[in-house]
Structures are given as C-alpha cells and as structure tokens.
Symmetry: C2
Subunit: 209 residues, 2 copies
C-alpha cells in the first residue's frame, strides 16, 4: 500500500516512469495533509485553560477530521487502484468483434470508477475545508499559519482531484454520467472555493499579510 | 528523519499535539510532490518515438526537477528542525538580566533561520513551476492532468511556505531583515503566481475545462 511507503519512496514512485501513482494520489495526499493540520490545531487548543469553553466543539471537530484523514489516506491507494483498473481494461484482447465490445465496455466501467474516486476525494476535501473554517476561527491563534496551511492543502486536494474527474470524463461515453458528474464537480468546487475565500480573509487579518 | 517515516506515520505526526512538524513541513512536501509529478511527465515523454526531437530538453528538465525533488525532500526536515531551534531558544533560562538578553538574542537568531528555510522552499517551488511550465507545454499530452497536478502542488508549496515566512517575520525585530525578506517573498510569489496562471491557461485548453 502506498500509504505504508516512506515519504521518500512514495515521492520516488510518483516521479517514476509509470502513470500510477499520479495526480489522483497526490490529490488525496494534499487533502490528508489538510485534515492532519486541522487536527493539529484542534490538539493545540484542547486541554488549554483559555479555550476550556470550546472543548466540546474542538473534540467533535478533531474526531471529524481524524475520520476524514483516514478516508483521504485510503483514497491515495484507491485512486491509484482505480487507474490500474482502467489500464487493465485497455490491455484486454481486441481480436474479435466480441472481444472489442467487451474491452470497450470494461474500459467505460473502469473510467466511471476512476471518476467516482476523485469525486469522493473532492467531497472529503470540502468537509476538511468546512470543519477547518470553524477550527481556524475559534482555535488557538498561535498556530493560525498551520490552520491556514491546512486550508490551502485541502483546497488544492480538491482542485487536483477535479483535474482527474475532468480527464476521465473526456473519455467517457455515457452522457447522463458525464452531466451528473460535471454538476457534482461544479457544486463541490464552488462550495470549496467559497470556504477557502472565507477562511483566507481571516488568515490575512490574523497574520497581517 | 521525517522523509523516512511512512506516509501514514508522517500524517499522524502532523496531526499530533506538537507544533512540529507543521505547515512548513507540508509546504516542502507539496513542493516535492510537484517536482515528482513534473519528473513523471518527463519520464513518460523520454524514449517515445513521437517526442524524439524533445529528448535533450526533457532529459535536462528531468535532471533539474530531480535535484529540486531532493532539495524539497530535505526541506521537510530542515523546516521542522528550524522550528525546533526557535522552541529550544524559548526554553533557555530567563532568571537574570544577562540570561534574558542571551535568550532574546537566541530567539531572534532562531526566528531568522526559521524564515530563511521557507524562503528557500518558495525559491525551489518557483523553479519547479518554471521547469514545469515548459514540460507541460511540450511533454506527452496524455499525462497533462498529472503535469497540471504538479503545477498546483508546487504553487501551493510556495503559498504555504509564505505563511511561515510571514508568521516568523511578525516576531522578528531587525527591520532590515524584515524588509529584505518581505521584498524577496513578494518577488517569489509574483513570479510563482504568473507561472501558475500561464500554465493554467494551457491546462484548461488541453483538458477542455
């Protein structure tokens, strides 16, 4: 599993001459870095006298981002796996008309799977952005730059996953699937962009940028 | 060393209740992901008949981003180390006036180091963006979404590092150091934003976004 590789080996595999892992895996890793940084801000707020009144909310936020961190860490591998599924379909035999028909259908099924995975990454990144916004606002201001880094990471995870949704949709034939996916992608992206903008206004004010 | 931890353990350390590793380490990791993805596009272009005429340029670009990948991987640890240096200075004794003077000077030295490291991360990310722009333009168009993911990652590495430059400058007293650092940060950021915009126009055209 990619998440069990050392950071250095993961980067080496990414840089290598195989198309997998690629951008989709990094989308999930960006999102996971975002979730981890928001969890860190919670951890540096929980248990401090000054923020005692926020304890229940910070505990709930921490639990939420820890679940998102686990989901996004799994998505690193699931994205690479979905891509490998498409590649396996492309390698199916194409001698007879029947072969060609089966191969073509398998490629389409693979591409739809490989579209659903980055859509799930986008959804998880949006949730990190939403929890992150309130943690950034209420949490320990000494680590505001770490919370802000978490917002940037989750937003980039979302934009990177959208690239993978788009490139797969370009090869998909089912018009209904394409339209549904595009609508979903646009809604997630709009919500993510808004959450990032709202958080950023706060970051610039707090950091004096 | 952080780069030798598994991806899962690194994320766990990031999420934990210590301020280090934090946003600065993720800035370097985003940049390293960007360098690795640009190297991948080079690797999927080199050795293919259709791109034979680009071979010398792609080999040079790959060598350049591999050096940047190594530098940014080191910066994951160097950023965490610089932060630990500041924390160690804060823990120095402050009983006597002399203690206080020494501690205060050590904190300032530590903060200046902790500012230079993310400035170096910004510089390396800008170089990834610059090489990435030409690789994206000329390289194998089948992996354009991976190249685009590399551009996003390197640009986010730069923005994340800028947060750390800013938060350290807020606690630094030397006005000349502050002004020099701000000028350098602004120049790096402007160049990085421009490189990202230029690449993005190409990505949107190629992906039909």
């Amino acid at each position: 599993m990619l998440a069990e590789l050392s950071v250095r080996s993961f980067l080496g595999q990414l840089a290598g001459g195989s198309a997998s892992p690629g951008g989709g895996a990094t989308a999930a890793l960006h999102g996971a870095q975002g979730a981890a940084l928001i969890a860190m801000v919670c951890n540096l707020t929980i248990g401090r006298k000054r923020y005692k009144h926020l304890e229940p909310q910070m505990l709930a936020s921490r639990q939420h981002v820890q679940i998102l961190l686990a989901q996004l860490t799994d998505l690193i591998d699931r994205d690479a796996g979905a891509y490998d599924g498409v590649m396996a379909a492309y390698r199916l035999p194409k001698q007879t008309a029947e072969d060609q028909q089966m191969r073509s259908e398998a490629i389409q099924v693979g591409l739809e799977d490989a579209t659903r995975v980055p859509l799930e990454t986008m959804d998880a990144c949006l949730k990190v952005l939403t929890v992150g916004e309130s943690v950034l606002e209420l949490g320990n201001p000494n680590v505001v730059s770490d919370g802000a880094a978490g917002i940037l990471a989750a937003h980039t995870g979302m934009l990177t996953a959208a690239l993978n949704v788009q490139i797969n949709l370009n090869a998909i034939q089912d018009e209904e699937f394409i339209q549904e996916s595009k609508t979903r992608m646009a809604a997630l992206k709009a919500a993510g962009d808004n959450a990032r903008l709202r958080s950023w206004a706060l970051v610039e004010e707090r950091l004096g940028m």
